[in-house]
Symmetry: C2
Subunit: 353 residues, 2 copies
C-alpha cells in the first residue's frame, strides 16, 4: 500500500542504545527529507519514550504517534522463543501496524533472527517464496548493488538462490530505479566449472527457468564493489561474510587514512585543505551509518532491519530507506516476478510430462 | 632446507603478461632487499628470456641462472590435464628444483589449480594433511592476519578446517614471527549456535583435540581486517569471496578518494600537500601489488602463488615473500604442529576404545 505521505512503523525498543536512537532518528530524517511528509508510529514503552518526545523538536512531535507496548524482544532471545513470547512487544506490534494497513513499512534495529521469525508469523510469506532473505544495498561507482542473502539463511539450496534472484531483481527495479537490473551469482571464479555444486545447480536453474530478467552469470567478490551487476545473489553464510569483510576493509582504510593525514606537518596542512574540498564527501561515503539498513524480502509487507548498534544518524538512514520503499512499487514488482517464476516452473513440469 | 643465501626457483612462464614480469621482478626485489643475497633459478623459454636477461642490470644477471624449458602450463588447462601433460614445463621444473634441494622455495604466477595439482605430485603432501590450502597474509593495524583457505578447496569438512588451523598457526609463527599466534574460525556470528554444521563441528573438534595453540573461537568478517586473531580459518569458497570482496571494497575507497582529491581547487591543493606528507605511504598500503603472494600450505616444500595478472613490482613482492619463507623455520614448525595433531587424534581414538 502506498500513500502520498508515507507512514513508517518503528520498533522503538530494538536498538542496543535504547529508544532515544529512534526518537532522535526521526528528528534527523525529517530534517534530511523535509519533502517526504513522512509520519511515524512509534511502538515502545511510554514511560521511557514519552519524556524523550516532549524534549524533541516540534516537527518530530507533530509527525509521531506513540503507541505503548509493555514488553520487548531481547538481543539474546532465540527466534523460536521470541515468536512464542513476544506477542504485544514493540517488535510484534510494529509489524501488526503494517499487516493492518496502518503503516507502509516497519523499521527495527532489534534481534535479526527474532525479527525474521516474527515477520514470517505476522506478515506471512509471499506465494512462491520458501524463506525470506535479507538484502543489503552496497554502494558502487555506478549506484547501488543489491546483495542477498546477507545472513538470514546460512544454508541454501539452488532453488532458494533462484528465489533470491527474483526478489533482488524486483527490489532493485522498485527502490533503485533500474529499468532492467542485471543479476549475478556469487562464485569463486567466472568459469562454469568453478564453485560448489549448489551455485552450479542454481546457475543452470536460472538459465533453464526461462525467467526474462538479465542474468549475467557468475560474479566474483571484487565485482560487488565494482558494480558489475545490479544484483548479487549468494547464500546467507557467504553473503554475511562478504558484507562484514568489506566493512572491516573499509574501516582499515579509514585507519590508514587517519594515520597518513597526521603523519607530518605537510600531511596535516593537506588534510586541512582537503576538508574544505572533498574530504567530507569521502567521509560520508565511508561512514557505515550512511549505508545502514537491510531489507527483509519475501514477505507480505516491507521490513527494514537497522544495525542493532547504530546511533540516531544511522537509524535515520534506515528510516530514509523505509520512506523510499513506501513510495516504491516494490510489493507489486516482486509479485509480478514471483508469478513469472511460478509460471516458468509450471511450464517446465508440463514439458517434463 | 635453509641456507644463508636463499635460492628461489621461479616459474618464469606463468604470468599473464609474459616472462618479462619475472625478469624485471628479480631486478626490483634485489634493489628492495639488497641484504638478502638471494639467488634465482629461472625456468622458462631461453629464446624469449635470454635476450631479456641480457638487457637486465648487472646484479640481476649475476644472481640469475636460466634453465631452459620447452613447454608451459596454460591458464585454461584443467588441473588433471596439466598433471598429465606438464612434465618438463616451467611450472613442473621449478617445483622439481625444490624437491631436489637445489632451491628453497618456488614462486609461480601460473594457473592456480594446475600449480596445486602439480605441487601435490612433485612435492607430495606432508603426513597428516589431506589437501593443501592457499593462505593469504592480510594487512591489519596490528601486523598480518593469515587467512586460509582462500580458494584451493571450495568444499571442506570439519577435519580439513582443523588441518588449516594447524598449518596457518605454524605459518604465522614462522613467517610473521608471533610466538603464540591466536586462531579464529570464520563464521556469521560469535555465538556457538550460529553458523552452519561444518563450522560448528570444526569448532568442537579444535576444542576437543587438545592441541595446545591459542584458539579464540568464532570470528566474523570484519574481525579479519581488525586483526582480532593472527590466523583466520575458513573454507576455500568463503575465503576466496572474503579476500576478493575486500580487494573490491579497497578499490572502491580508492575510487572515492581520487574523486574527493580532484573535486575542487582546495581539495587539489590538499592532495598536493598530502603527497609530500603521508599520501604515498597510504597509496602503497592500498596497492594490491604490495600484498601479492599466497602460500600453498601442506606440502613437502614451500610454494608461493603470485596473482596471474600482476606486474613486475607485484611479482617482486611475491619473490620477497619467498625470500622471507626461505629464511624461516616454516617447514619445521608445521611438522611439529602436525605431529601434535596426529598425537591428539591417536590419544582420542585410544580413549574411545
Amino acid at each position: 500500500m502506498t500513500r502520498s505521505a508515507p507512514i513508517i512503523s518503528v520498533d522503538a525498543m530494538g536498538a542496543d542504545h535504547g529508544p532515544s536512537i529512534a526518537v532522535e532518528g526521526i528528528g534527523h530524517i525529517l530534517r534530511r527529507r523535509p519533502e517526504s511528509q513522512a509520519k511515524f508510529l512509534l511502538h515502545g514503552d511510554e514511560a521511557q519514550i514519552g519524556p524523550m518526545l516532549e524534549q524533541a523538536d516540534a516537527l518530530t512531535r507533530e509527525r509521531t504517534t506513540l503507541l505503548h507496548t509493555d514488553s520487548e524482544v531481547r538481543m539474546t532471545d532465540k527466534p523460536s522463543e521470541a515468536v512464542r513470547r513476544s506477542r504485544g512487544s514493540s517488535m510484534w506490534n510494529s509489524l501488526v501496524s503494517v499487516k493492518n494497513g496502518e503503516a507502509d513499512v516497519v523499521v527495527s534495529a532489534g534481534n535479526t533472527g527474532a525479527l525474521m521469525a516474527i515477520s514470517k508469523v505476522v506478515l506471512r510469506m509471499k506465494k512462491g517464496v520458501h524463506r525470506p532473505a535479507i538484502s543489503a544495498s552496497w554502494p558502487t561507482p555506478r549506484g547501488h548493488t543489491v546483495v542477498l542473502d546477507v545472513g538470514a539463511n546460512v544454508e541454501c539450496g539452488p532453488s532458494q538462490l533462484v528465489e533470491f534472484a527474483i526478489m533482488g531483481e524486483a527490489f532493485h527495479r522498485a527502490v533503485h530505479g533500474s529499468s532492467e537490473p542485471t543479476v549475478g551469482l556469487l562464485n569463486v571464479g567466472q568459469e562454469e566449472l568453478k564453485g560448489n555444486d549448489t551455485v552450479r545447480a542454481a546457475d543452470r536453474l536460472i538459465r533453464d527457468a526461462g525467467i526474462d530478467f538479465k542474468y549475467h552469470g557468475f560474479v566474483e567478490g571484487d565485482d560487488i564493489s565494482l558494480g558489475i551487476t545490479d544484483v548479487v545473489v549468494t547464500d546467507g553464510f557467504s553473503g554475511n561474510i562478504a558484507l562484514k569483510t568489506a566493512e572491516g576493509a573499509v574501516k582499515l582504510v579509514g585507519h590508514w587514512m587517519r594515520e597518513s593525514f597526521t603523519s607530518s606537518l605537510s600531511a596535516k596542512i593537506g588534510a586541512a585543505f582537503l576538508s574544505m574540498g572533498g574530504l567530507d564527501h569521502l567521509r560520508s561515503k565511508l561512514d557505515p551509518r550512511s549505508i545502514n539498513g537491510g531489507v527483509l524480502l519475501g514477505l507480505n509487507g516491507m521490513v527494514v532491519k537497522s544495525h542493532g548498534g547504530t546511533d540516531s544518524e544511522g537509524f535515520a538512514t534506515a528510516l530514509g530507506l523505509g520512506i523510499d520503499m513506501a513510495g516504491s512499487g516494490f510489493l507489486t514488482e516482486i509479485e509480478a516476478n514471483l508469478a513469472r517464476l511460478i509460471a516458468a516452473g509450471e511450464a517446465q513440469s508440463q514439458a517434463a510430462q
